[in-house]
């Protein structure tokens, strides 16, 4: 059987949804028999590969780099799964939209710094913040949505099994927004 080429990435998330992938515990070993992890924070590939079957995306889009990345992922992946509330609605990551990037940066690097020689925000080398944090579907087409904060590991397992076996499942049996 041909293995599924799987990529996982976290954009603007807290890594909790990726930890929930690991929370499959020993089932991870079972899943690993059916998938090849071709790109992920857990492996050393630096360049997003060209022919990925499924990419699991945690987190919202909050920088120009995220936008570039998600477009590339879309172009190179057959299916995209939005993992967790940040990817799907913006969730916690989008809370800075209440204030705007300027105010948020000012608070952290202006008011809360003791030494800020240049008096500016981090702006070199680092990517630029968008004015507004966006959920994935505002920029690309998303094929599957798995809500939760984080998505429960049982839901991730059920979803991966269903993709491996080619069966449909009702994902609301396993998930709930915000939980």
């Amino acid at each position: 059987m041909k293995k599924i080429r799987l990529a996982t990435i976290w954009l603007d998330g807290c890594s909790g949804c990726h930890m929930s992938i690991l929370d499959m515990d020993e089932k991870l070993i079972e899943i690993a028999e059916y998938v090849d992890v071709v790109y992920s924070p857990y492996v050393d590939t630096k360049e997003f590969p060209s022919d990925v079957d499924l990419t699991i995306v945690e987190g919202a889009l909050s920088t120009d780099h995220d936008i570039k990345m998600i477009k590339k992922i879309r172009a190179n992946s057959k299916y995209i799964l939005g993992l967790g509330d940040c990817a799907i609605t913006g969730n916690i990551s989008a809370m800075k939209n209440l204030f705007g990037s300027e105010a948020v940066l000012q608070r952290s690097y202006g008011e809360l710094a003791d030494t800020n020689a240049s008096g500016v925000y981090p702006s070199k080398i680092v990517p630029k913040l968008l004015d507004k944090v966006l959920p994935l579907h505002e920029v690309i087409k998303v094929d599957y949505f798995l809500p939760g904060c984080p998505t429960p590991s049982d839901a991730i397992y059920a979803m991966l099994r269903s993709l491996i076996e080619g069966k449909e499942i009702n994902i609301s049996d396993y998930t709930r927004f915000g939980k």
């Binding site: 976290w10 603007d12 998330g13 807290c14 890594s15 909790g16 949804c17 990726h18 930890m19 929930s20 690991l22 929370d23 515990d25 020993e26 991870l28 070993i29 690993a32 992890v37 924070p41 857990y42 492996v43 050393d44 590939t45 630096k46 360049e47 909050s62 920088t63 780099h65 916690i92 990551s93 809370m95 800075k96 209440l98 204030f99 990037s101 105010a103 948020v104 940066l105 608070r107 952290s108 690097y109 809360l112 710094a113 003791d114 030494t115 800020n116 020689a117 240049s118 500016v120 925000y121 981090p122 702006s123 070199k124 080398i125 680092v126 990517p127 913040l129 904060c149 984080p150 590991s153």
Partner: protein, 474 residues
């Protein structure tokens, strides 16, 4: 005259990139780590009710959500003027140690052990946990099960493995009954076995890595950690202690509320991660390290039998003086894992743990509070100001990984100067630069509160900081 970029840095918890600057003579002149994510918790928490803070700030980080929740509820206790009942304190401690256990296990097994098993020069396709599942199935499984044990304790006692909601101001939401306690206790012996085997594995492999031990961030620095009233290892409570690289005590018995007198935060244009420093020495001379290495350097003893035995050998590495080699963060982490399991066992066996765990109250008595704990990666501060209704006015967070920012940068530079040859940049050299960062086990999602992400390209820059080449490494 080039600059090397590693982007993204992999097998770390967050987003980073590394730049390496090459001077006119083709030598490495500087190297830096850049955190590339910014999340802004310090601003958007304003206007929230204090009781939301544990759940909100837990979401700075999915790896150490418990640490944030613990520092947060401790700050909330102070706002409310309450002390949890003994059972509540014990259960918080157990949950906190369980998280240290799972996070350290993740760092050692899932992220770093491929380097120890296959070597730093192994093919990059092979340096990961999935490869380990094939070549070292028992070890991979042990790592998975030990992490699962920590997560299971959190789930059982605090409701959920990641972002648990059972940690609340005044104690914990749920009492522990005898039967549940016994099921957790039954798993202790296996956890101790795995932990001791990983220590033995690490120690027998040490000889292979002498060059890395000697060059991975070896330099004098200060060390900071919480200790208990006997100067022993402490993760939940205690007072701050700061020592220098000779082991001299610079500060002790500092209560966390006073942190601002000792810790300043500096901003650099090239990273979203701020650089805390020891104020009396100024920036950047006041570089200090936190986390497992610092904790074992600062503490006199662990306070549990097996871990104390291991600690003797650890302290002997530098004849009783602070151990300066950052490579030994891994070693210290493994000793802390053993300590965490032993301490969890002792706390579970304490009869007081089975009592009523929550002190309920509702009024705000104080308008400023600082909650502090030792997170897996080091000392974590949550500093809140509220109005009389408990609405958050101001928040400052100093995140464990952030404390190590200056030291990580110094380490990256040292490794790059030792291993990177600008004329022939090898995969193994670049992997070592990343491996240095893995020693510190940075949690970059939370350290940029967390502000940001570090991603890891290596960039080669000339002396004008113009990028000459980006190493994407395939």
């Amino acid at each position: 005259m080039k600059k090397i970029i590693i982007d993204p840095v992999t097998r770390i918890e967050g987003h980073a990139k590394i730049t390496i600057d090459i001077d006119a003579d083709n030598r490495v002149s500087d190297a830096k780590i850049h955190v590339t994510q910014f999340r802004g918790f310090e601003k958007f928490c304003e206007g929230q009710i204090y009781s939301q803070m544990p759940a909100l700030t837990a979401r700075t980080c999915g790896i150490c959500p418990v640490s944030h929740a613990i520092s947060s509820i401790k700050a909330c206790d102070t706002l409310l003027g309450v002390t949890p009942p003994q059972a509540g304190i014990n259960l918080r401690k157990i949950i906190n140690l369980a998280q240290i256990l799972q996070s350290h296990t993740l760092s050692f097994y899932h992220l770093s052990s491929p380097d120890f098993i296959y070597g730093f020069d192994a093919k990059k396709e092979e340096r990961n946990i999935f490869k380990m599942m094939q070549t070292h199935p028992q070890m991979a499984k042990d790592g998975i099960m030990l992490r699962a044990f920590g997560q299971k304790i959190i789930q059982t006692l605090a409701g959920k493995r990641i972002h648990p909601d059972g940690l609340v101001p005044g104690g914990v939401e749920k009492n522990l009954d005898e039967a549940t306690r016994d099921t957790l206790l039954a798993e202790i012996p296996n956890a101790i076995r795995i932990s001791q085997e990983s220590l033995a594995f690490f120690k027998t492999n040490l000889t292979k890595f002498q060059k890395e031990i000697d060059s991975f961030g070896v330099f004098p620095s200060l060390f900071m950690a919480l200790v208990d009233e006997h100067d022993n290892l402490e993760h939940y409570d205690g007072k701050l202690k700061i020592i220098d690289s000779e082991g001299n005590v610079l500060q002790e018995h500092i209560s966390p509320e006073e942190y601002k007198e000792f810790i300043g935060e500096a901003v650099e244009e090239e990273s979203y991660l701020k650089s805390p420093y020891y104020k009396p020495m100024g920036y950047p001379q006041g570089m200090y390290r936190v986390g497992p290495l610092a904790r074992l350097n600062v503490a006199k003893a662990c306070g549990t039998a097996r871990a104390d035995n291991e600690l003797l050998a650890f302290k002997a590495l530098n004849a009783g003086k602070p151990v300066l080699n950052s490579f030994y963060y891994h070693y210290a982490r493994l000793i802390e894992m053993l300590y965490a399991i032993e301490k969890i066992e002792a706390l579970l066996k304490d009869e007081a743990t089975l009592g009523e765990a929550l002190h309920r109250t509702s009024k705000i008595l104080k308008t400023r509070a600082v909650g502090c704990s030792e997170a897996p990666r080091g000392t974590l501060f949550h500093d809140y100001e509220v109005d009389k209704n408990g609405i958050i006015q101001k928040v400052n967070l100093i995140i464990a990984t952030g404390n190590n920012n200056l030291a990580m940068n110094a380490g990256v530079k040292q490794v790059a100067q030792t291993f990177v040859n600008a004329e022939d940049v090898t995969e193994g050299a670049l992997n070592r630069v990343e491996a240095l960062i893995r020693c510190f086990d940075p949690c970059l999602s939370c350290s940029t509160h967390a502000l940001g992400i570090v991603s890891s390209n290596i960039e080669l820059r000339d002396h004008n900081k113009n990028i000459i080449q980006i190493f994407k490494r395939n």
